[in-house]
Amino acid sequence: MPVTDDPATTAALARFERAVAAETRIEPRDEMPDAYRATLVRQIAQHAHSEIIGMQPEANWITRAPSLRRKAILIAKVQDEAGHGLYLYGAAETLGVGRAELLDKLHTGRQKYSSIFNYPTLTWADVGAIGWLVDGAAITNQVPLCRCSYGPYARAMVRICKEESFHQRQGYELLHTLARGTAEQRAMAQDAVDRWWWPSLMMFGPPDGDSPRTERSVAWRIKRHTNDELRQRFVDICVPQAASLGLTLPDPALRFDEARGHWEFGAIDWDEFRAVLRGEGPCNEERLAQRRRAHEEGAWVREAAAAYAAKRGGRGGGEGEEVAA
């Protein structure tokens, strides 16, 4: 936020900070610091992009789901991810950015999505590992966001968190079924957990010492906990869940620290994290290319629907002038 001597701006900033400190929610048309708005747009957009890019690795298995039950579940889950993306785009738009602009920034690489979705889904067990670990990590991240200071984001997160718990449980059930199956199925489940464990821990972002924006986001009540706090919470939750599955987590350093009351875990390969972030992950290009293709191939549908609305006339929204012209 630019330094200013303007008394009206100073007073507005003081009102904003008082409201945030008092746990009052900030709503769309309230005055807010430009940096608060920019931080939210970046975070919500990245979150929305992650939801819709996240449809790809799982949709990869819809045609090969092993039963009708599993297929119906997977379709419902992928549809939910689309819905989550839409709730979040809607929340971002309350901050004054347009949908087309956000999608354009995704398609041109100017806004990011979670790097976890740049890993491939090699076997059916990956669908289970994603539900258990990736959605589990997402829930750990997202539950505190239900109390985010920005009203529309917090409300979207409440809705999303309710739906995510189905995602996590179906994944856990899937892995549990495989883990009790043939030796081959069991090996497949273990392999998926081995591949998804470390990338899931990376989902919480860089370590606190290396996360320059955390402090301000915590002060603004956008974030409630640091990356490392949430990562620790996730590990503590997962270790006993892995034991119930009869699967192991691929970390020889895992051990319970009685004094701290937490599970210690090994060092995360941050070089890998940064490489995937730079675009060097196994599927970065494929994911973005598929997203662009889906958007371009849908252009005629968007145009046809707009033309039909214009032809019928007058029933569009109040902002439809550019469509009707």
Partner: protein, 114 residues
């Protein structure tokens, strides 16, 4: 500091702007009645080319788990709203009339059904 001067519920000021991906469909606000006997409440917003598709999209987006028995979709631009400022004098007439609340009145001990 900045406030948005766009649509009543916040979104809208930037929607419809042309980007490389073209213009957005108009924005609609969605209201859901969770069950009979309750009022419609605001659930969120979506884009749609017309009212019919806005309703269909709203059904798919906001009622995938039986969250509603009735939907309203309203063009966001058609909503008029008061200023978001909490100190808005618009609401001032209500602030200094505590005698409009039953708790303003003292009633002798033992008086019932009052």
């Amino acid at each position: 500091m900045s406030g948005t001067t766009g649509g009543a519920v916040g979104a809208g000021s930037a929607s419809g702007t042309s980007g490389a991906s073209g213009a957005d469909w108009p924005l609609w606000e969605v209201f859901v009645r969770p069950r009979r006997g309750l009022a419609h409440t605001h659930a969120g917003s979506l884009h749609a080319p017309d009212a019919e598709l806005a309703l269909r999209n709203a059904r798919d987006l906001f009622t995938r788990r039986g969250e509603g028995v009735s939907l309203w979709v309203v063009p966001a631009a058609a909503i008029a709203a008061s200023s978001p400022d909490e100190r808005d004098p618009f609401f001032a007439p209500a602030a200094d009339k505590p005698y409009r609340h039953p708790t303003f009145y003292e009633v002798p001990d033992g008086v019932r059904h009052l």
